[in-house]
Amino acid sequence: VAASAAESGWLLRAVLPLAVAGFVCATGAAIAWPALVAPALVGLGTACAIVEAAGRARLGWLILFSCLLVATAELLLWQDDVRQATEVDRSVVRSRVASLAAIVLGAAAVSAVSALAGGIRFSAAFEAALVGSAATLVVLLLAWLLLRPSGSRERASRPG
């Protein structure tokens, strides 16, 4: 019943309101109300799920949805921790960024593997986009490694 409802189109009409509601809740959670994190994720996740269940999403979109959703969840929950603190150590930011990057990469890999296992294949355009994004990321990483100030290592090891 659910599959036919998703494919018939009337459930697709709920995607936009759900996505908007999820976005509004996410904005509210980011500004002041951490209790809205769960409704935001449920709204955004349900919208993504409907689009995917209706068979409208290709593999590239699927991976993108997964990565964005988990990144949004991580950032909103982190925002709540940061709001409670009066001062955030620089090493906390570094470690959080690193773990966020690891989670996003892991999410991309896991969702790609699970989708491939389900028989969904890449399109040529997505492959090009994926290779381009990875190359940009590597170039930016190299530039940062070369151009970062030498004192940053000392500052990182200063406490203790």
Binding site: E52, L62, D89, S91, V92, V110, G160
Partner: protein, 422 residues
């Protein structure tokens, strides 16, 4: 250790997407929930957060009221790197001037973390510092450990003494050498009188001018320099108080100032805290007594008690004969009022510094403030009762310097007659 809401949220999202994938027969939905499941599996496989050990080290364990204390919070190194959120739980009288109140920090494995702090102490007292609330999370923030760390340091904040140029002069002095010019005649510096020569008088004391005029040898007499006993009598039965302070604060400030100045004058100073709990310090002199008095003042507090107490409960050596008793009282409790009258009737040289509770009373909204006016009248009548017995009563509200109150007492005593305590 507890599970964070993140764990429940991620578990819910992952399981909902897997159930939806099964129900709809769509493998795409597995891909949507799999990242959350991955975070759950990875996070729970990692090590759980370990307890924190931290302590506050102060550079000095004493400070003056309104002063600052430097210190550092040392968090011992963990076995694995971790993220900590700290919150300092400070007494209301102590504020953090430098250093974050709720920092979020990351600690490397085996490395202790030092946070420099500067604290300001707004009120006298003894404060336990270093009380912390700590939250440690695992790497994925799925589990957290909340801890309340016990205080690790104590700071003693001494009341800041007011500057006094003059002091209330006691009626009577003690037999030991000091800085007060005694009323008796003996050997000293200040000239007192001349009298006929008696065998045994030293020749250097002969007043030759007077002797030649009267054709009989006369000798000079001087006032000797003696010390005195001063008892600071704090009425701690009750106080008037608002957020910024109270009459007990005024009493402690005044007592600290008076004790410090009388001790500098080489007098012997004692302390009596007369209230729910009765405490006393036998009069003594010197720097050690100054510290004893300040320490005793720090422990002074209002203890609610309905038991009737009279001055008899005090040991005789705490109220030495011929001592000047300076009472610091809001004159609110009948037991304190009666005790002071009793002291005067026993012949003690008494001065009452009335710590005005009117400044701390809540003003009525409606005009005219009849209750306040009646209260003022009642207090004036009470003051008159003391003045009739020759007791100087001076009102001090803490706004004006204590020196003004001392000067008022001196002016009163300059013209007052020493009445018998009847």
């Amino acid at each position: 250790m507890r599970r964070t809401p993140k764990l429940a949220l991620y578990a819910g999202l992952a399981s909902a997407s897997f159930v939806a994938a099964l129900a709809l027969g769509r493998p795409e939905l597995v891909g949507l929930g799999a990242p959350f499941a991955l975070v759950l599996v990875a996070g729970l496989a990692l090590a759980a957060p370990e307890p924190v050990r931290a302590g506050l080290r102060l550079r000095s364990d004493t400070a003056l009221e309104g002063g600052q204390v430097d210190g550092e919070l040392v968090i011992e190194g963990p076995r694995r790197s971790r993220e900590l959120q700290l919150a300092h739980v400070l007494p209301p009288e102590v504020a953090l001037v430098e250093g974050a109140e709720r920092p979020l920090l990351r600690q490397g494995a085996g490395r202790s973390y030092v946070i420099p702090l500067r604290l300001s102490c707004s009120r006298w007292g003894v404060y336990e510092l270093g009380r912390l609330v700590v939250r440690v999370r695992d790497e994925t923030a799925l589990r957290s450990l909340d801890q309340r760390l016990a205080p690790s340091s104590v700071v003693r904040v001494y009341p800041r003494p007011d500057a006094l140029r003059t002091l209330v002069r006691p009626w009577e002095t003690q037999p030991f050498a000091g800085n007060w010019v005694a009323r008796t005649k003996s050997e000293g510096i200040e000239f007192a009188d001349v009298r006929p020569y008696e065998p045994g008088d030293r020749v250097r004391r002969v007043n030759w001018r007077e002797s030649s005029r009267r054709q009989v040898l006369h000798v000079n007499q001087q006032h000797p320099e003696r010390d005195s006993d001063v008892i600071l009598f704090i009425d701690s039965f009750s106080e008037a108080r608002h957020e910024q302070g109270g009459t007990l604060d005024l009493a402690v400030r005044a007592a600290a100032s008076l004790a410090s100045h009388y001790l500098q004058q080489r007098d012997r100073v004692g302390l009596v805290s007369f209230g729910g709990f009765v405490r006393w310090l036998v009069p003594s002199s010197g720097a050690r007594q100054a510290y004893r008095i300040v320490e005793a003042l720090l422990e002074t507090e209002i203890s609610l008690s309905f038991a009737w107490k009279e001055i008899d409960v005090l040991p005789a050596r705490s109220l030495t004969p011929q001592a000047l008793v300076i009472a610091l009282s809001p004159l609110l409790d009948e037991r304190g009022v009666r005790a002071l009258l009793d002291l005067r009737r026993r012949g003690f040289d008494l001065v009452v510094v009335e710590l005005s509770p009117i400044a701390f009373a809540r003003r009525p909204e409606a005009e005219p403030d009849l209750a306040i006016r009646l209260w003022r009248l009642w207090r004036e009548a009470l003051r008159f009762r003391y003045e009739r017995l020759g007791v100087a009563v001076v009102e001090w509200d803490g706004e004006q310097p204590l020196a003004v109150a001392v000067e008022e007492v001196r002016a009163f005593r300059r013209f007052a007659r020493f009445a018998s305590g009847s």
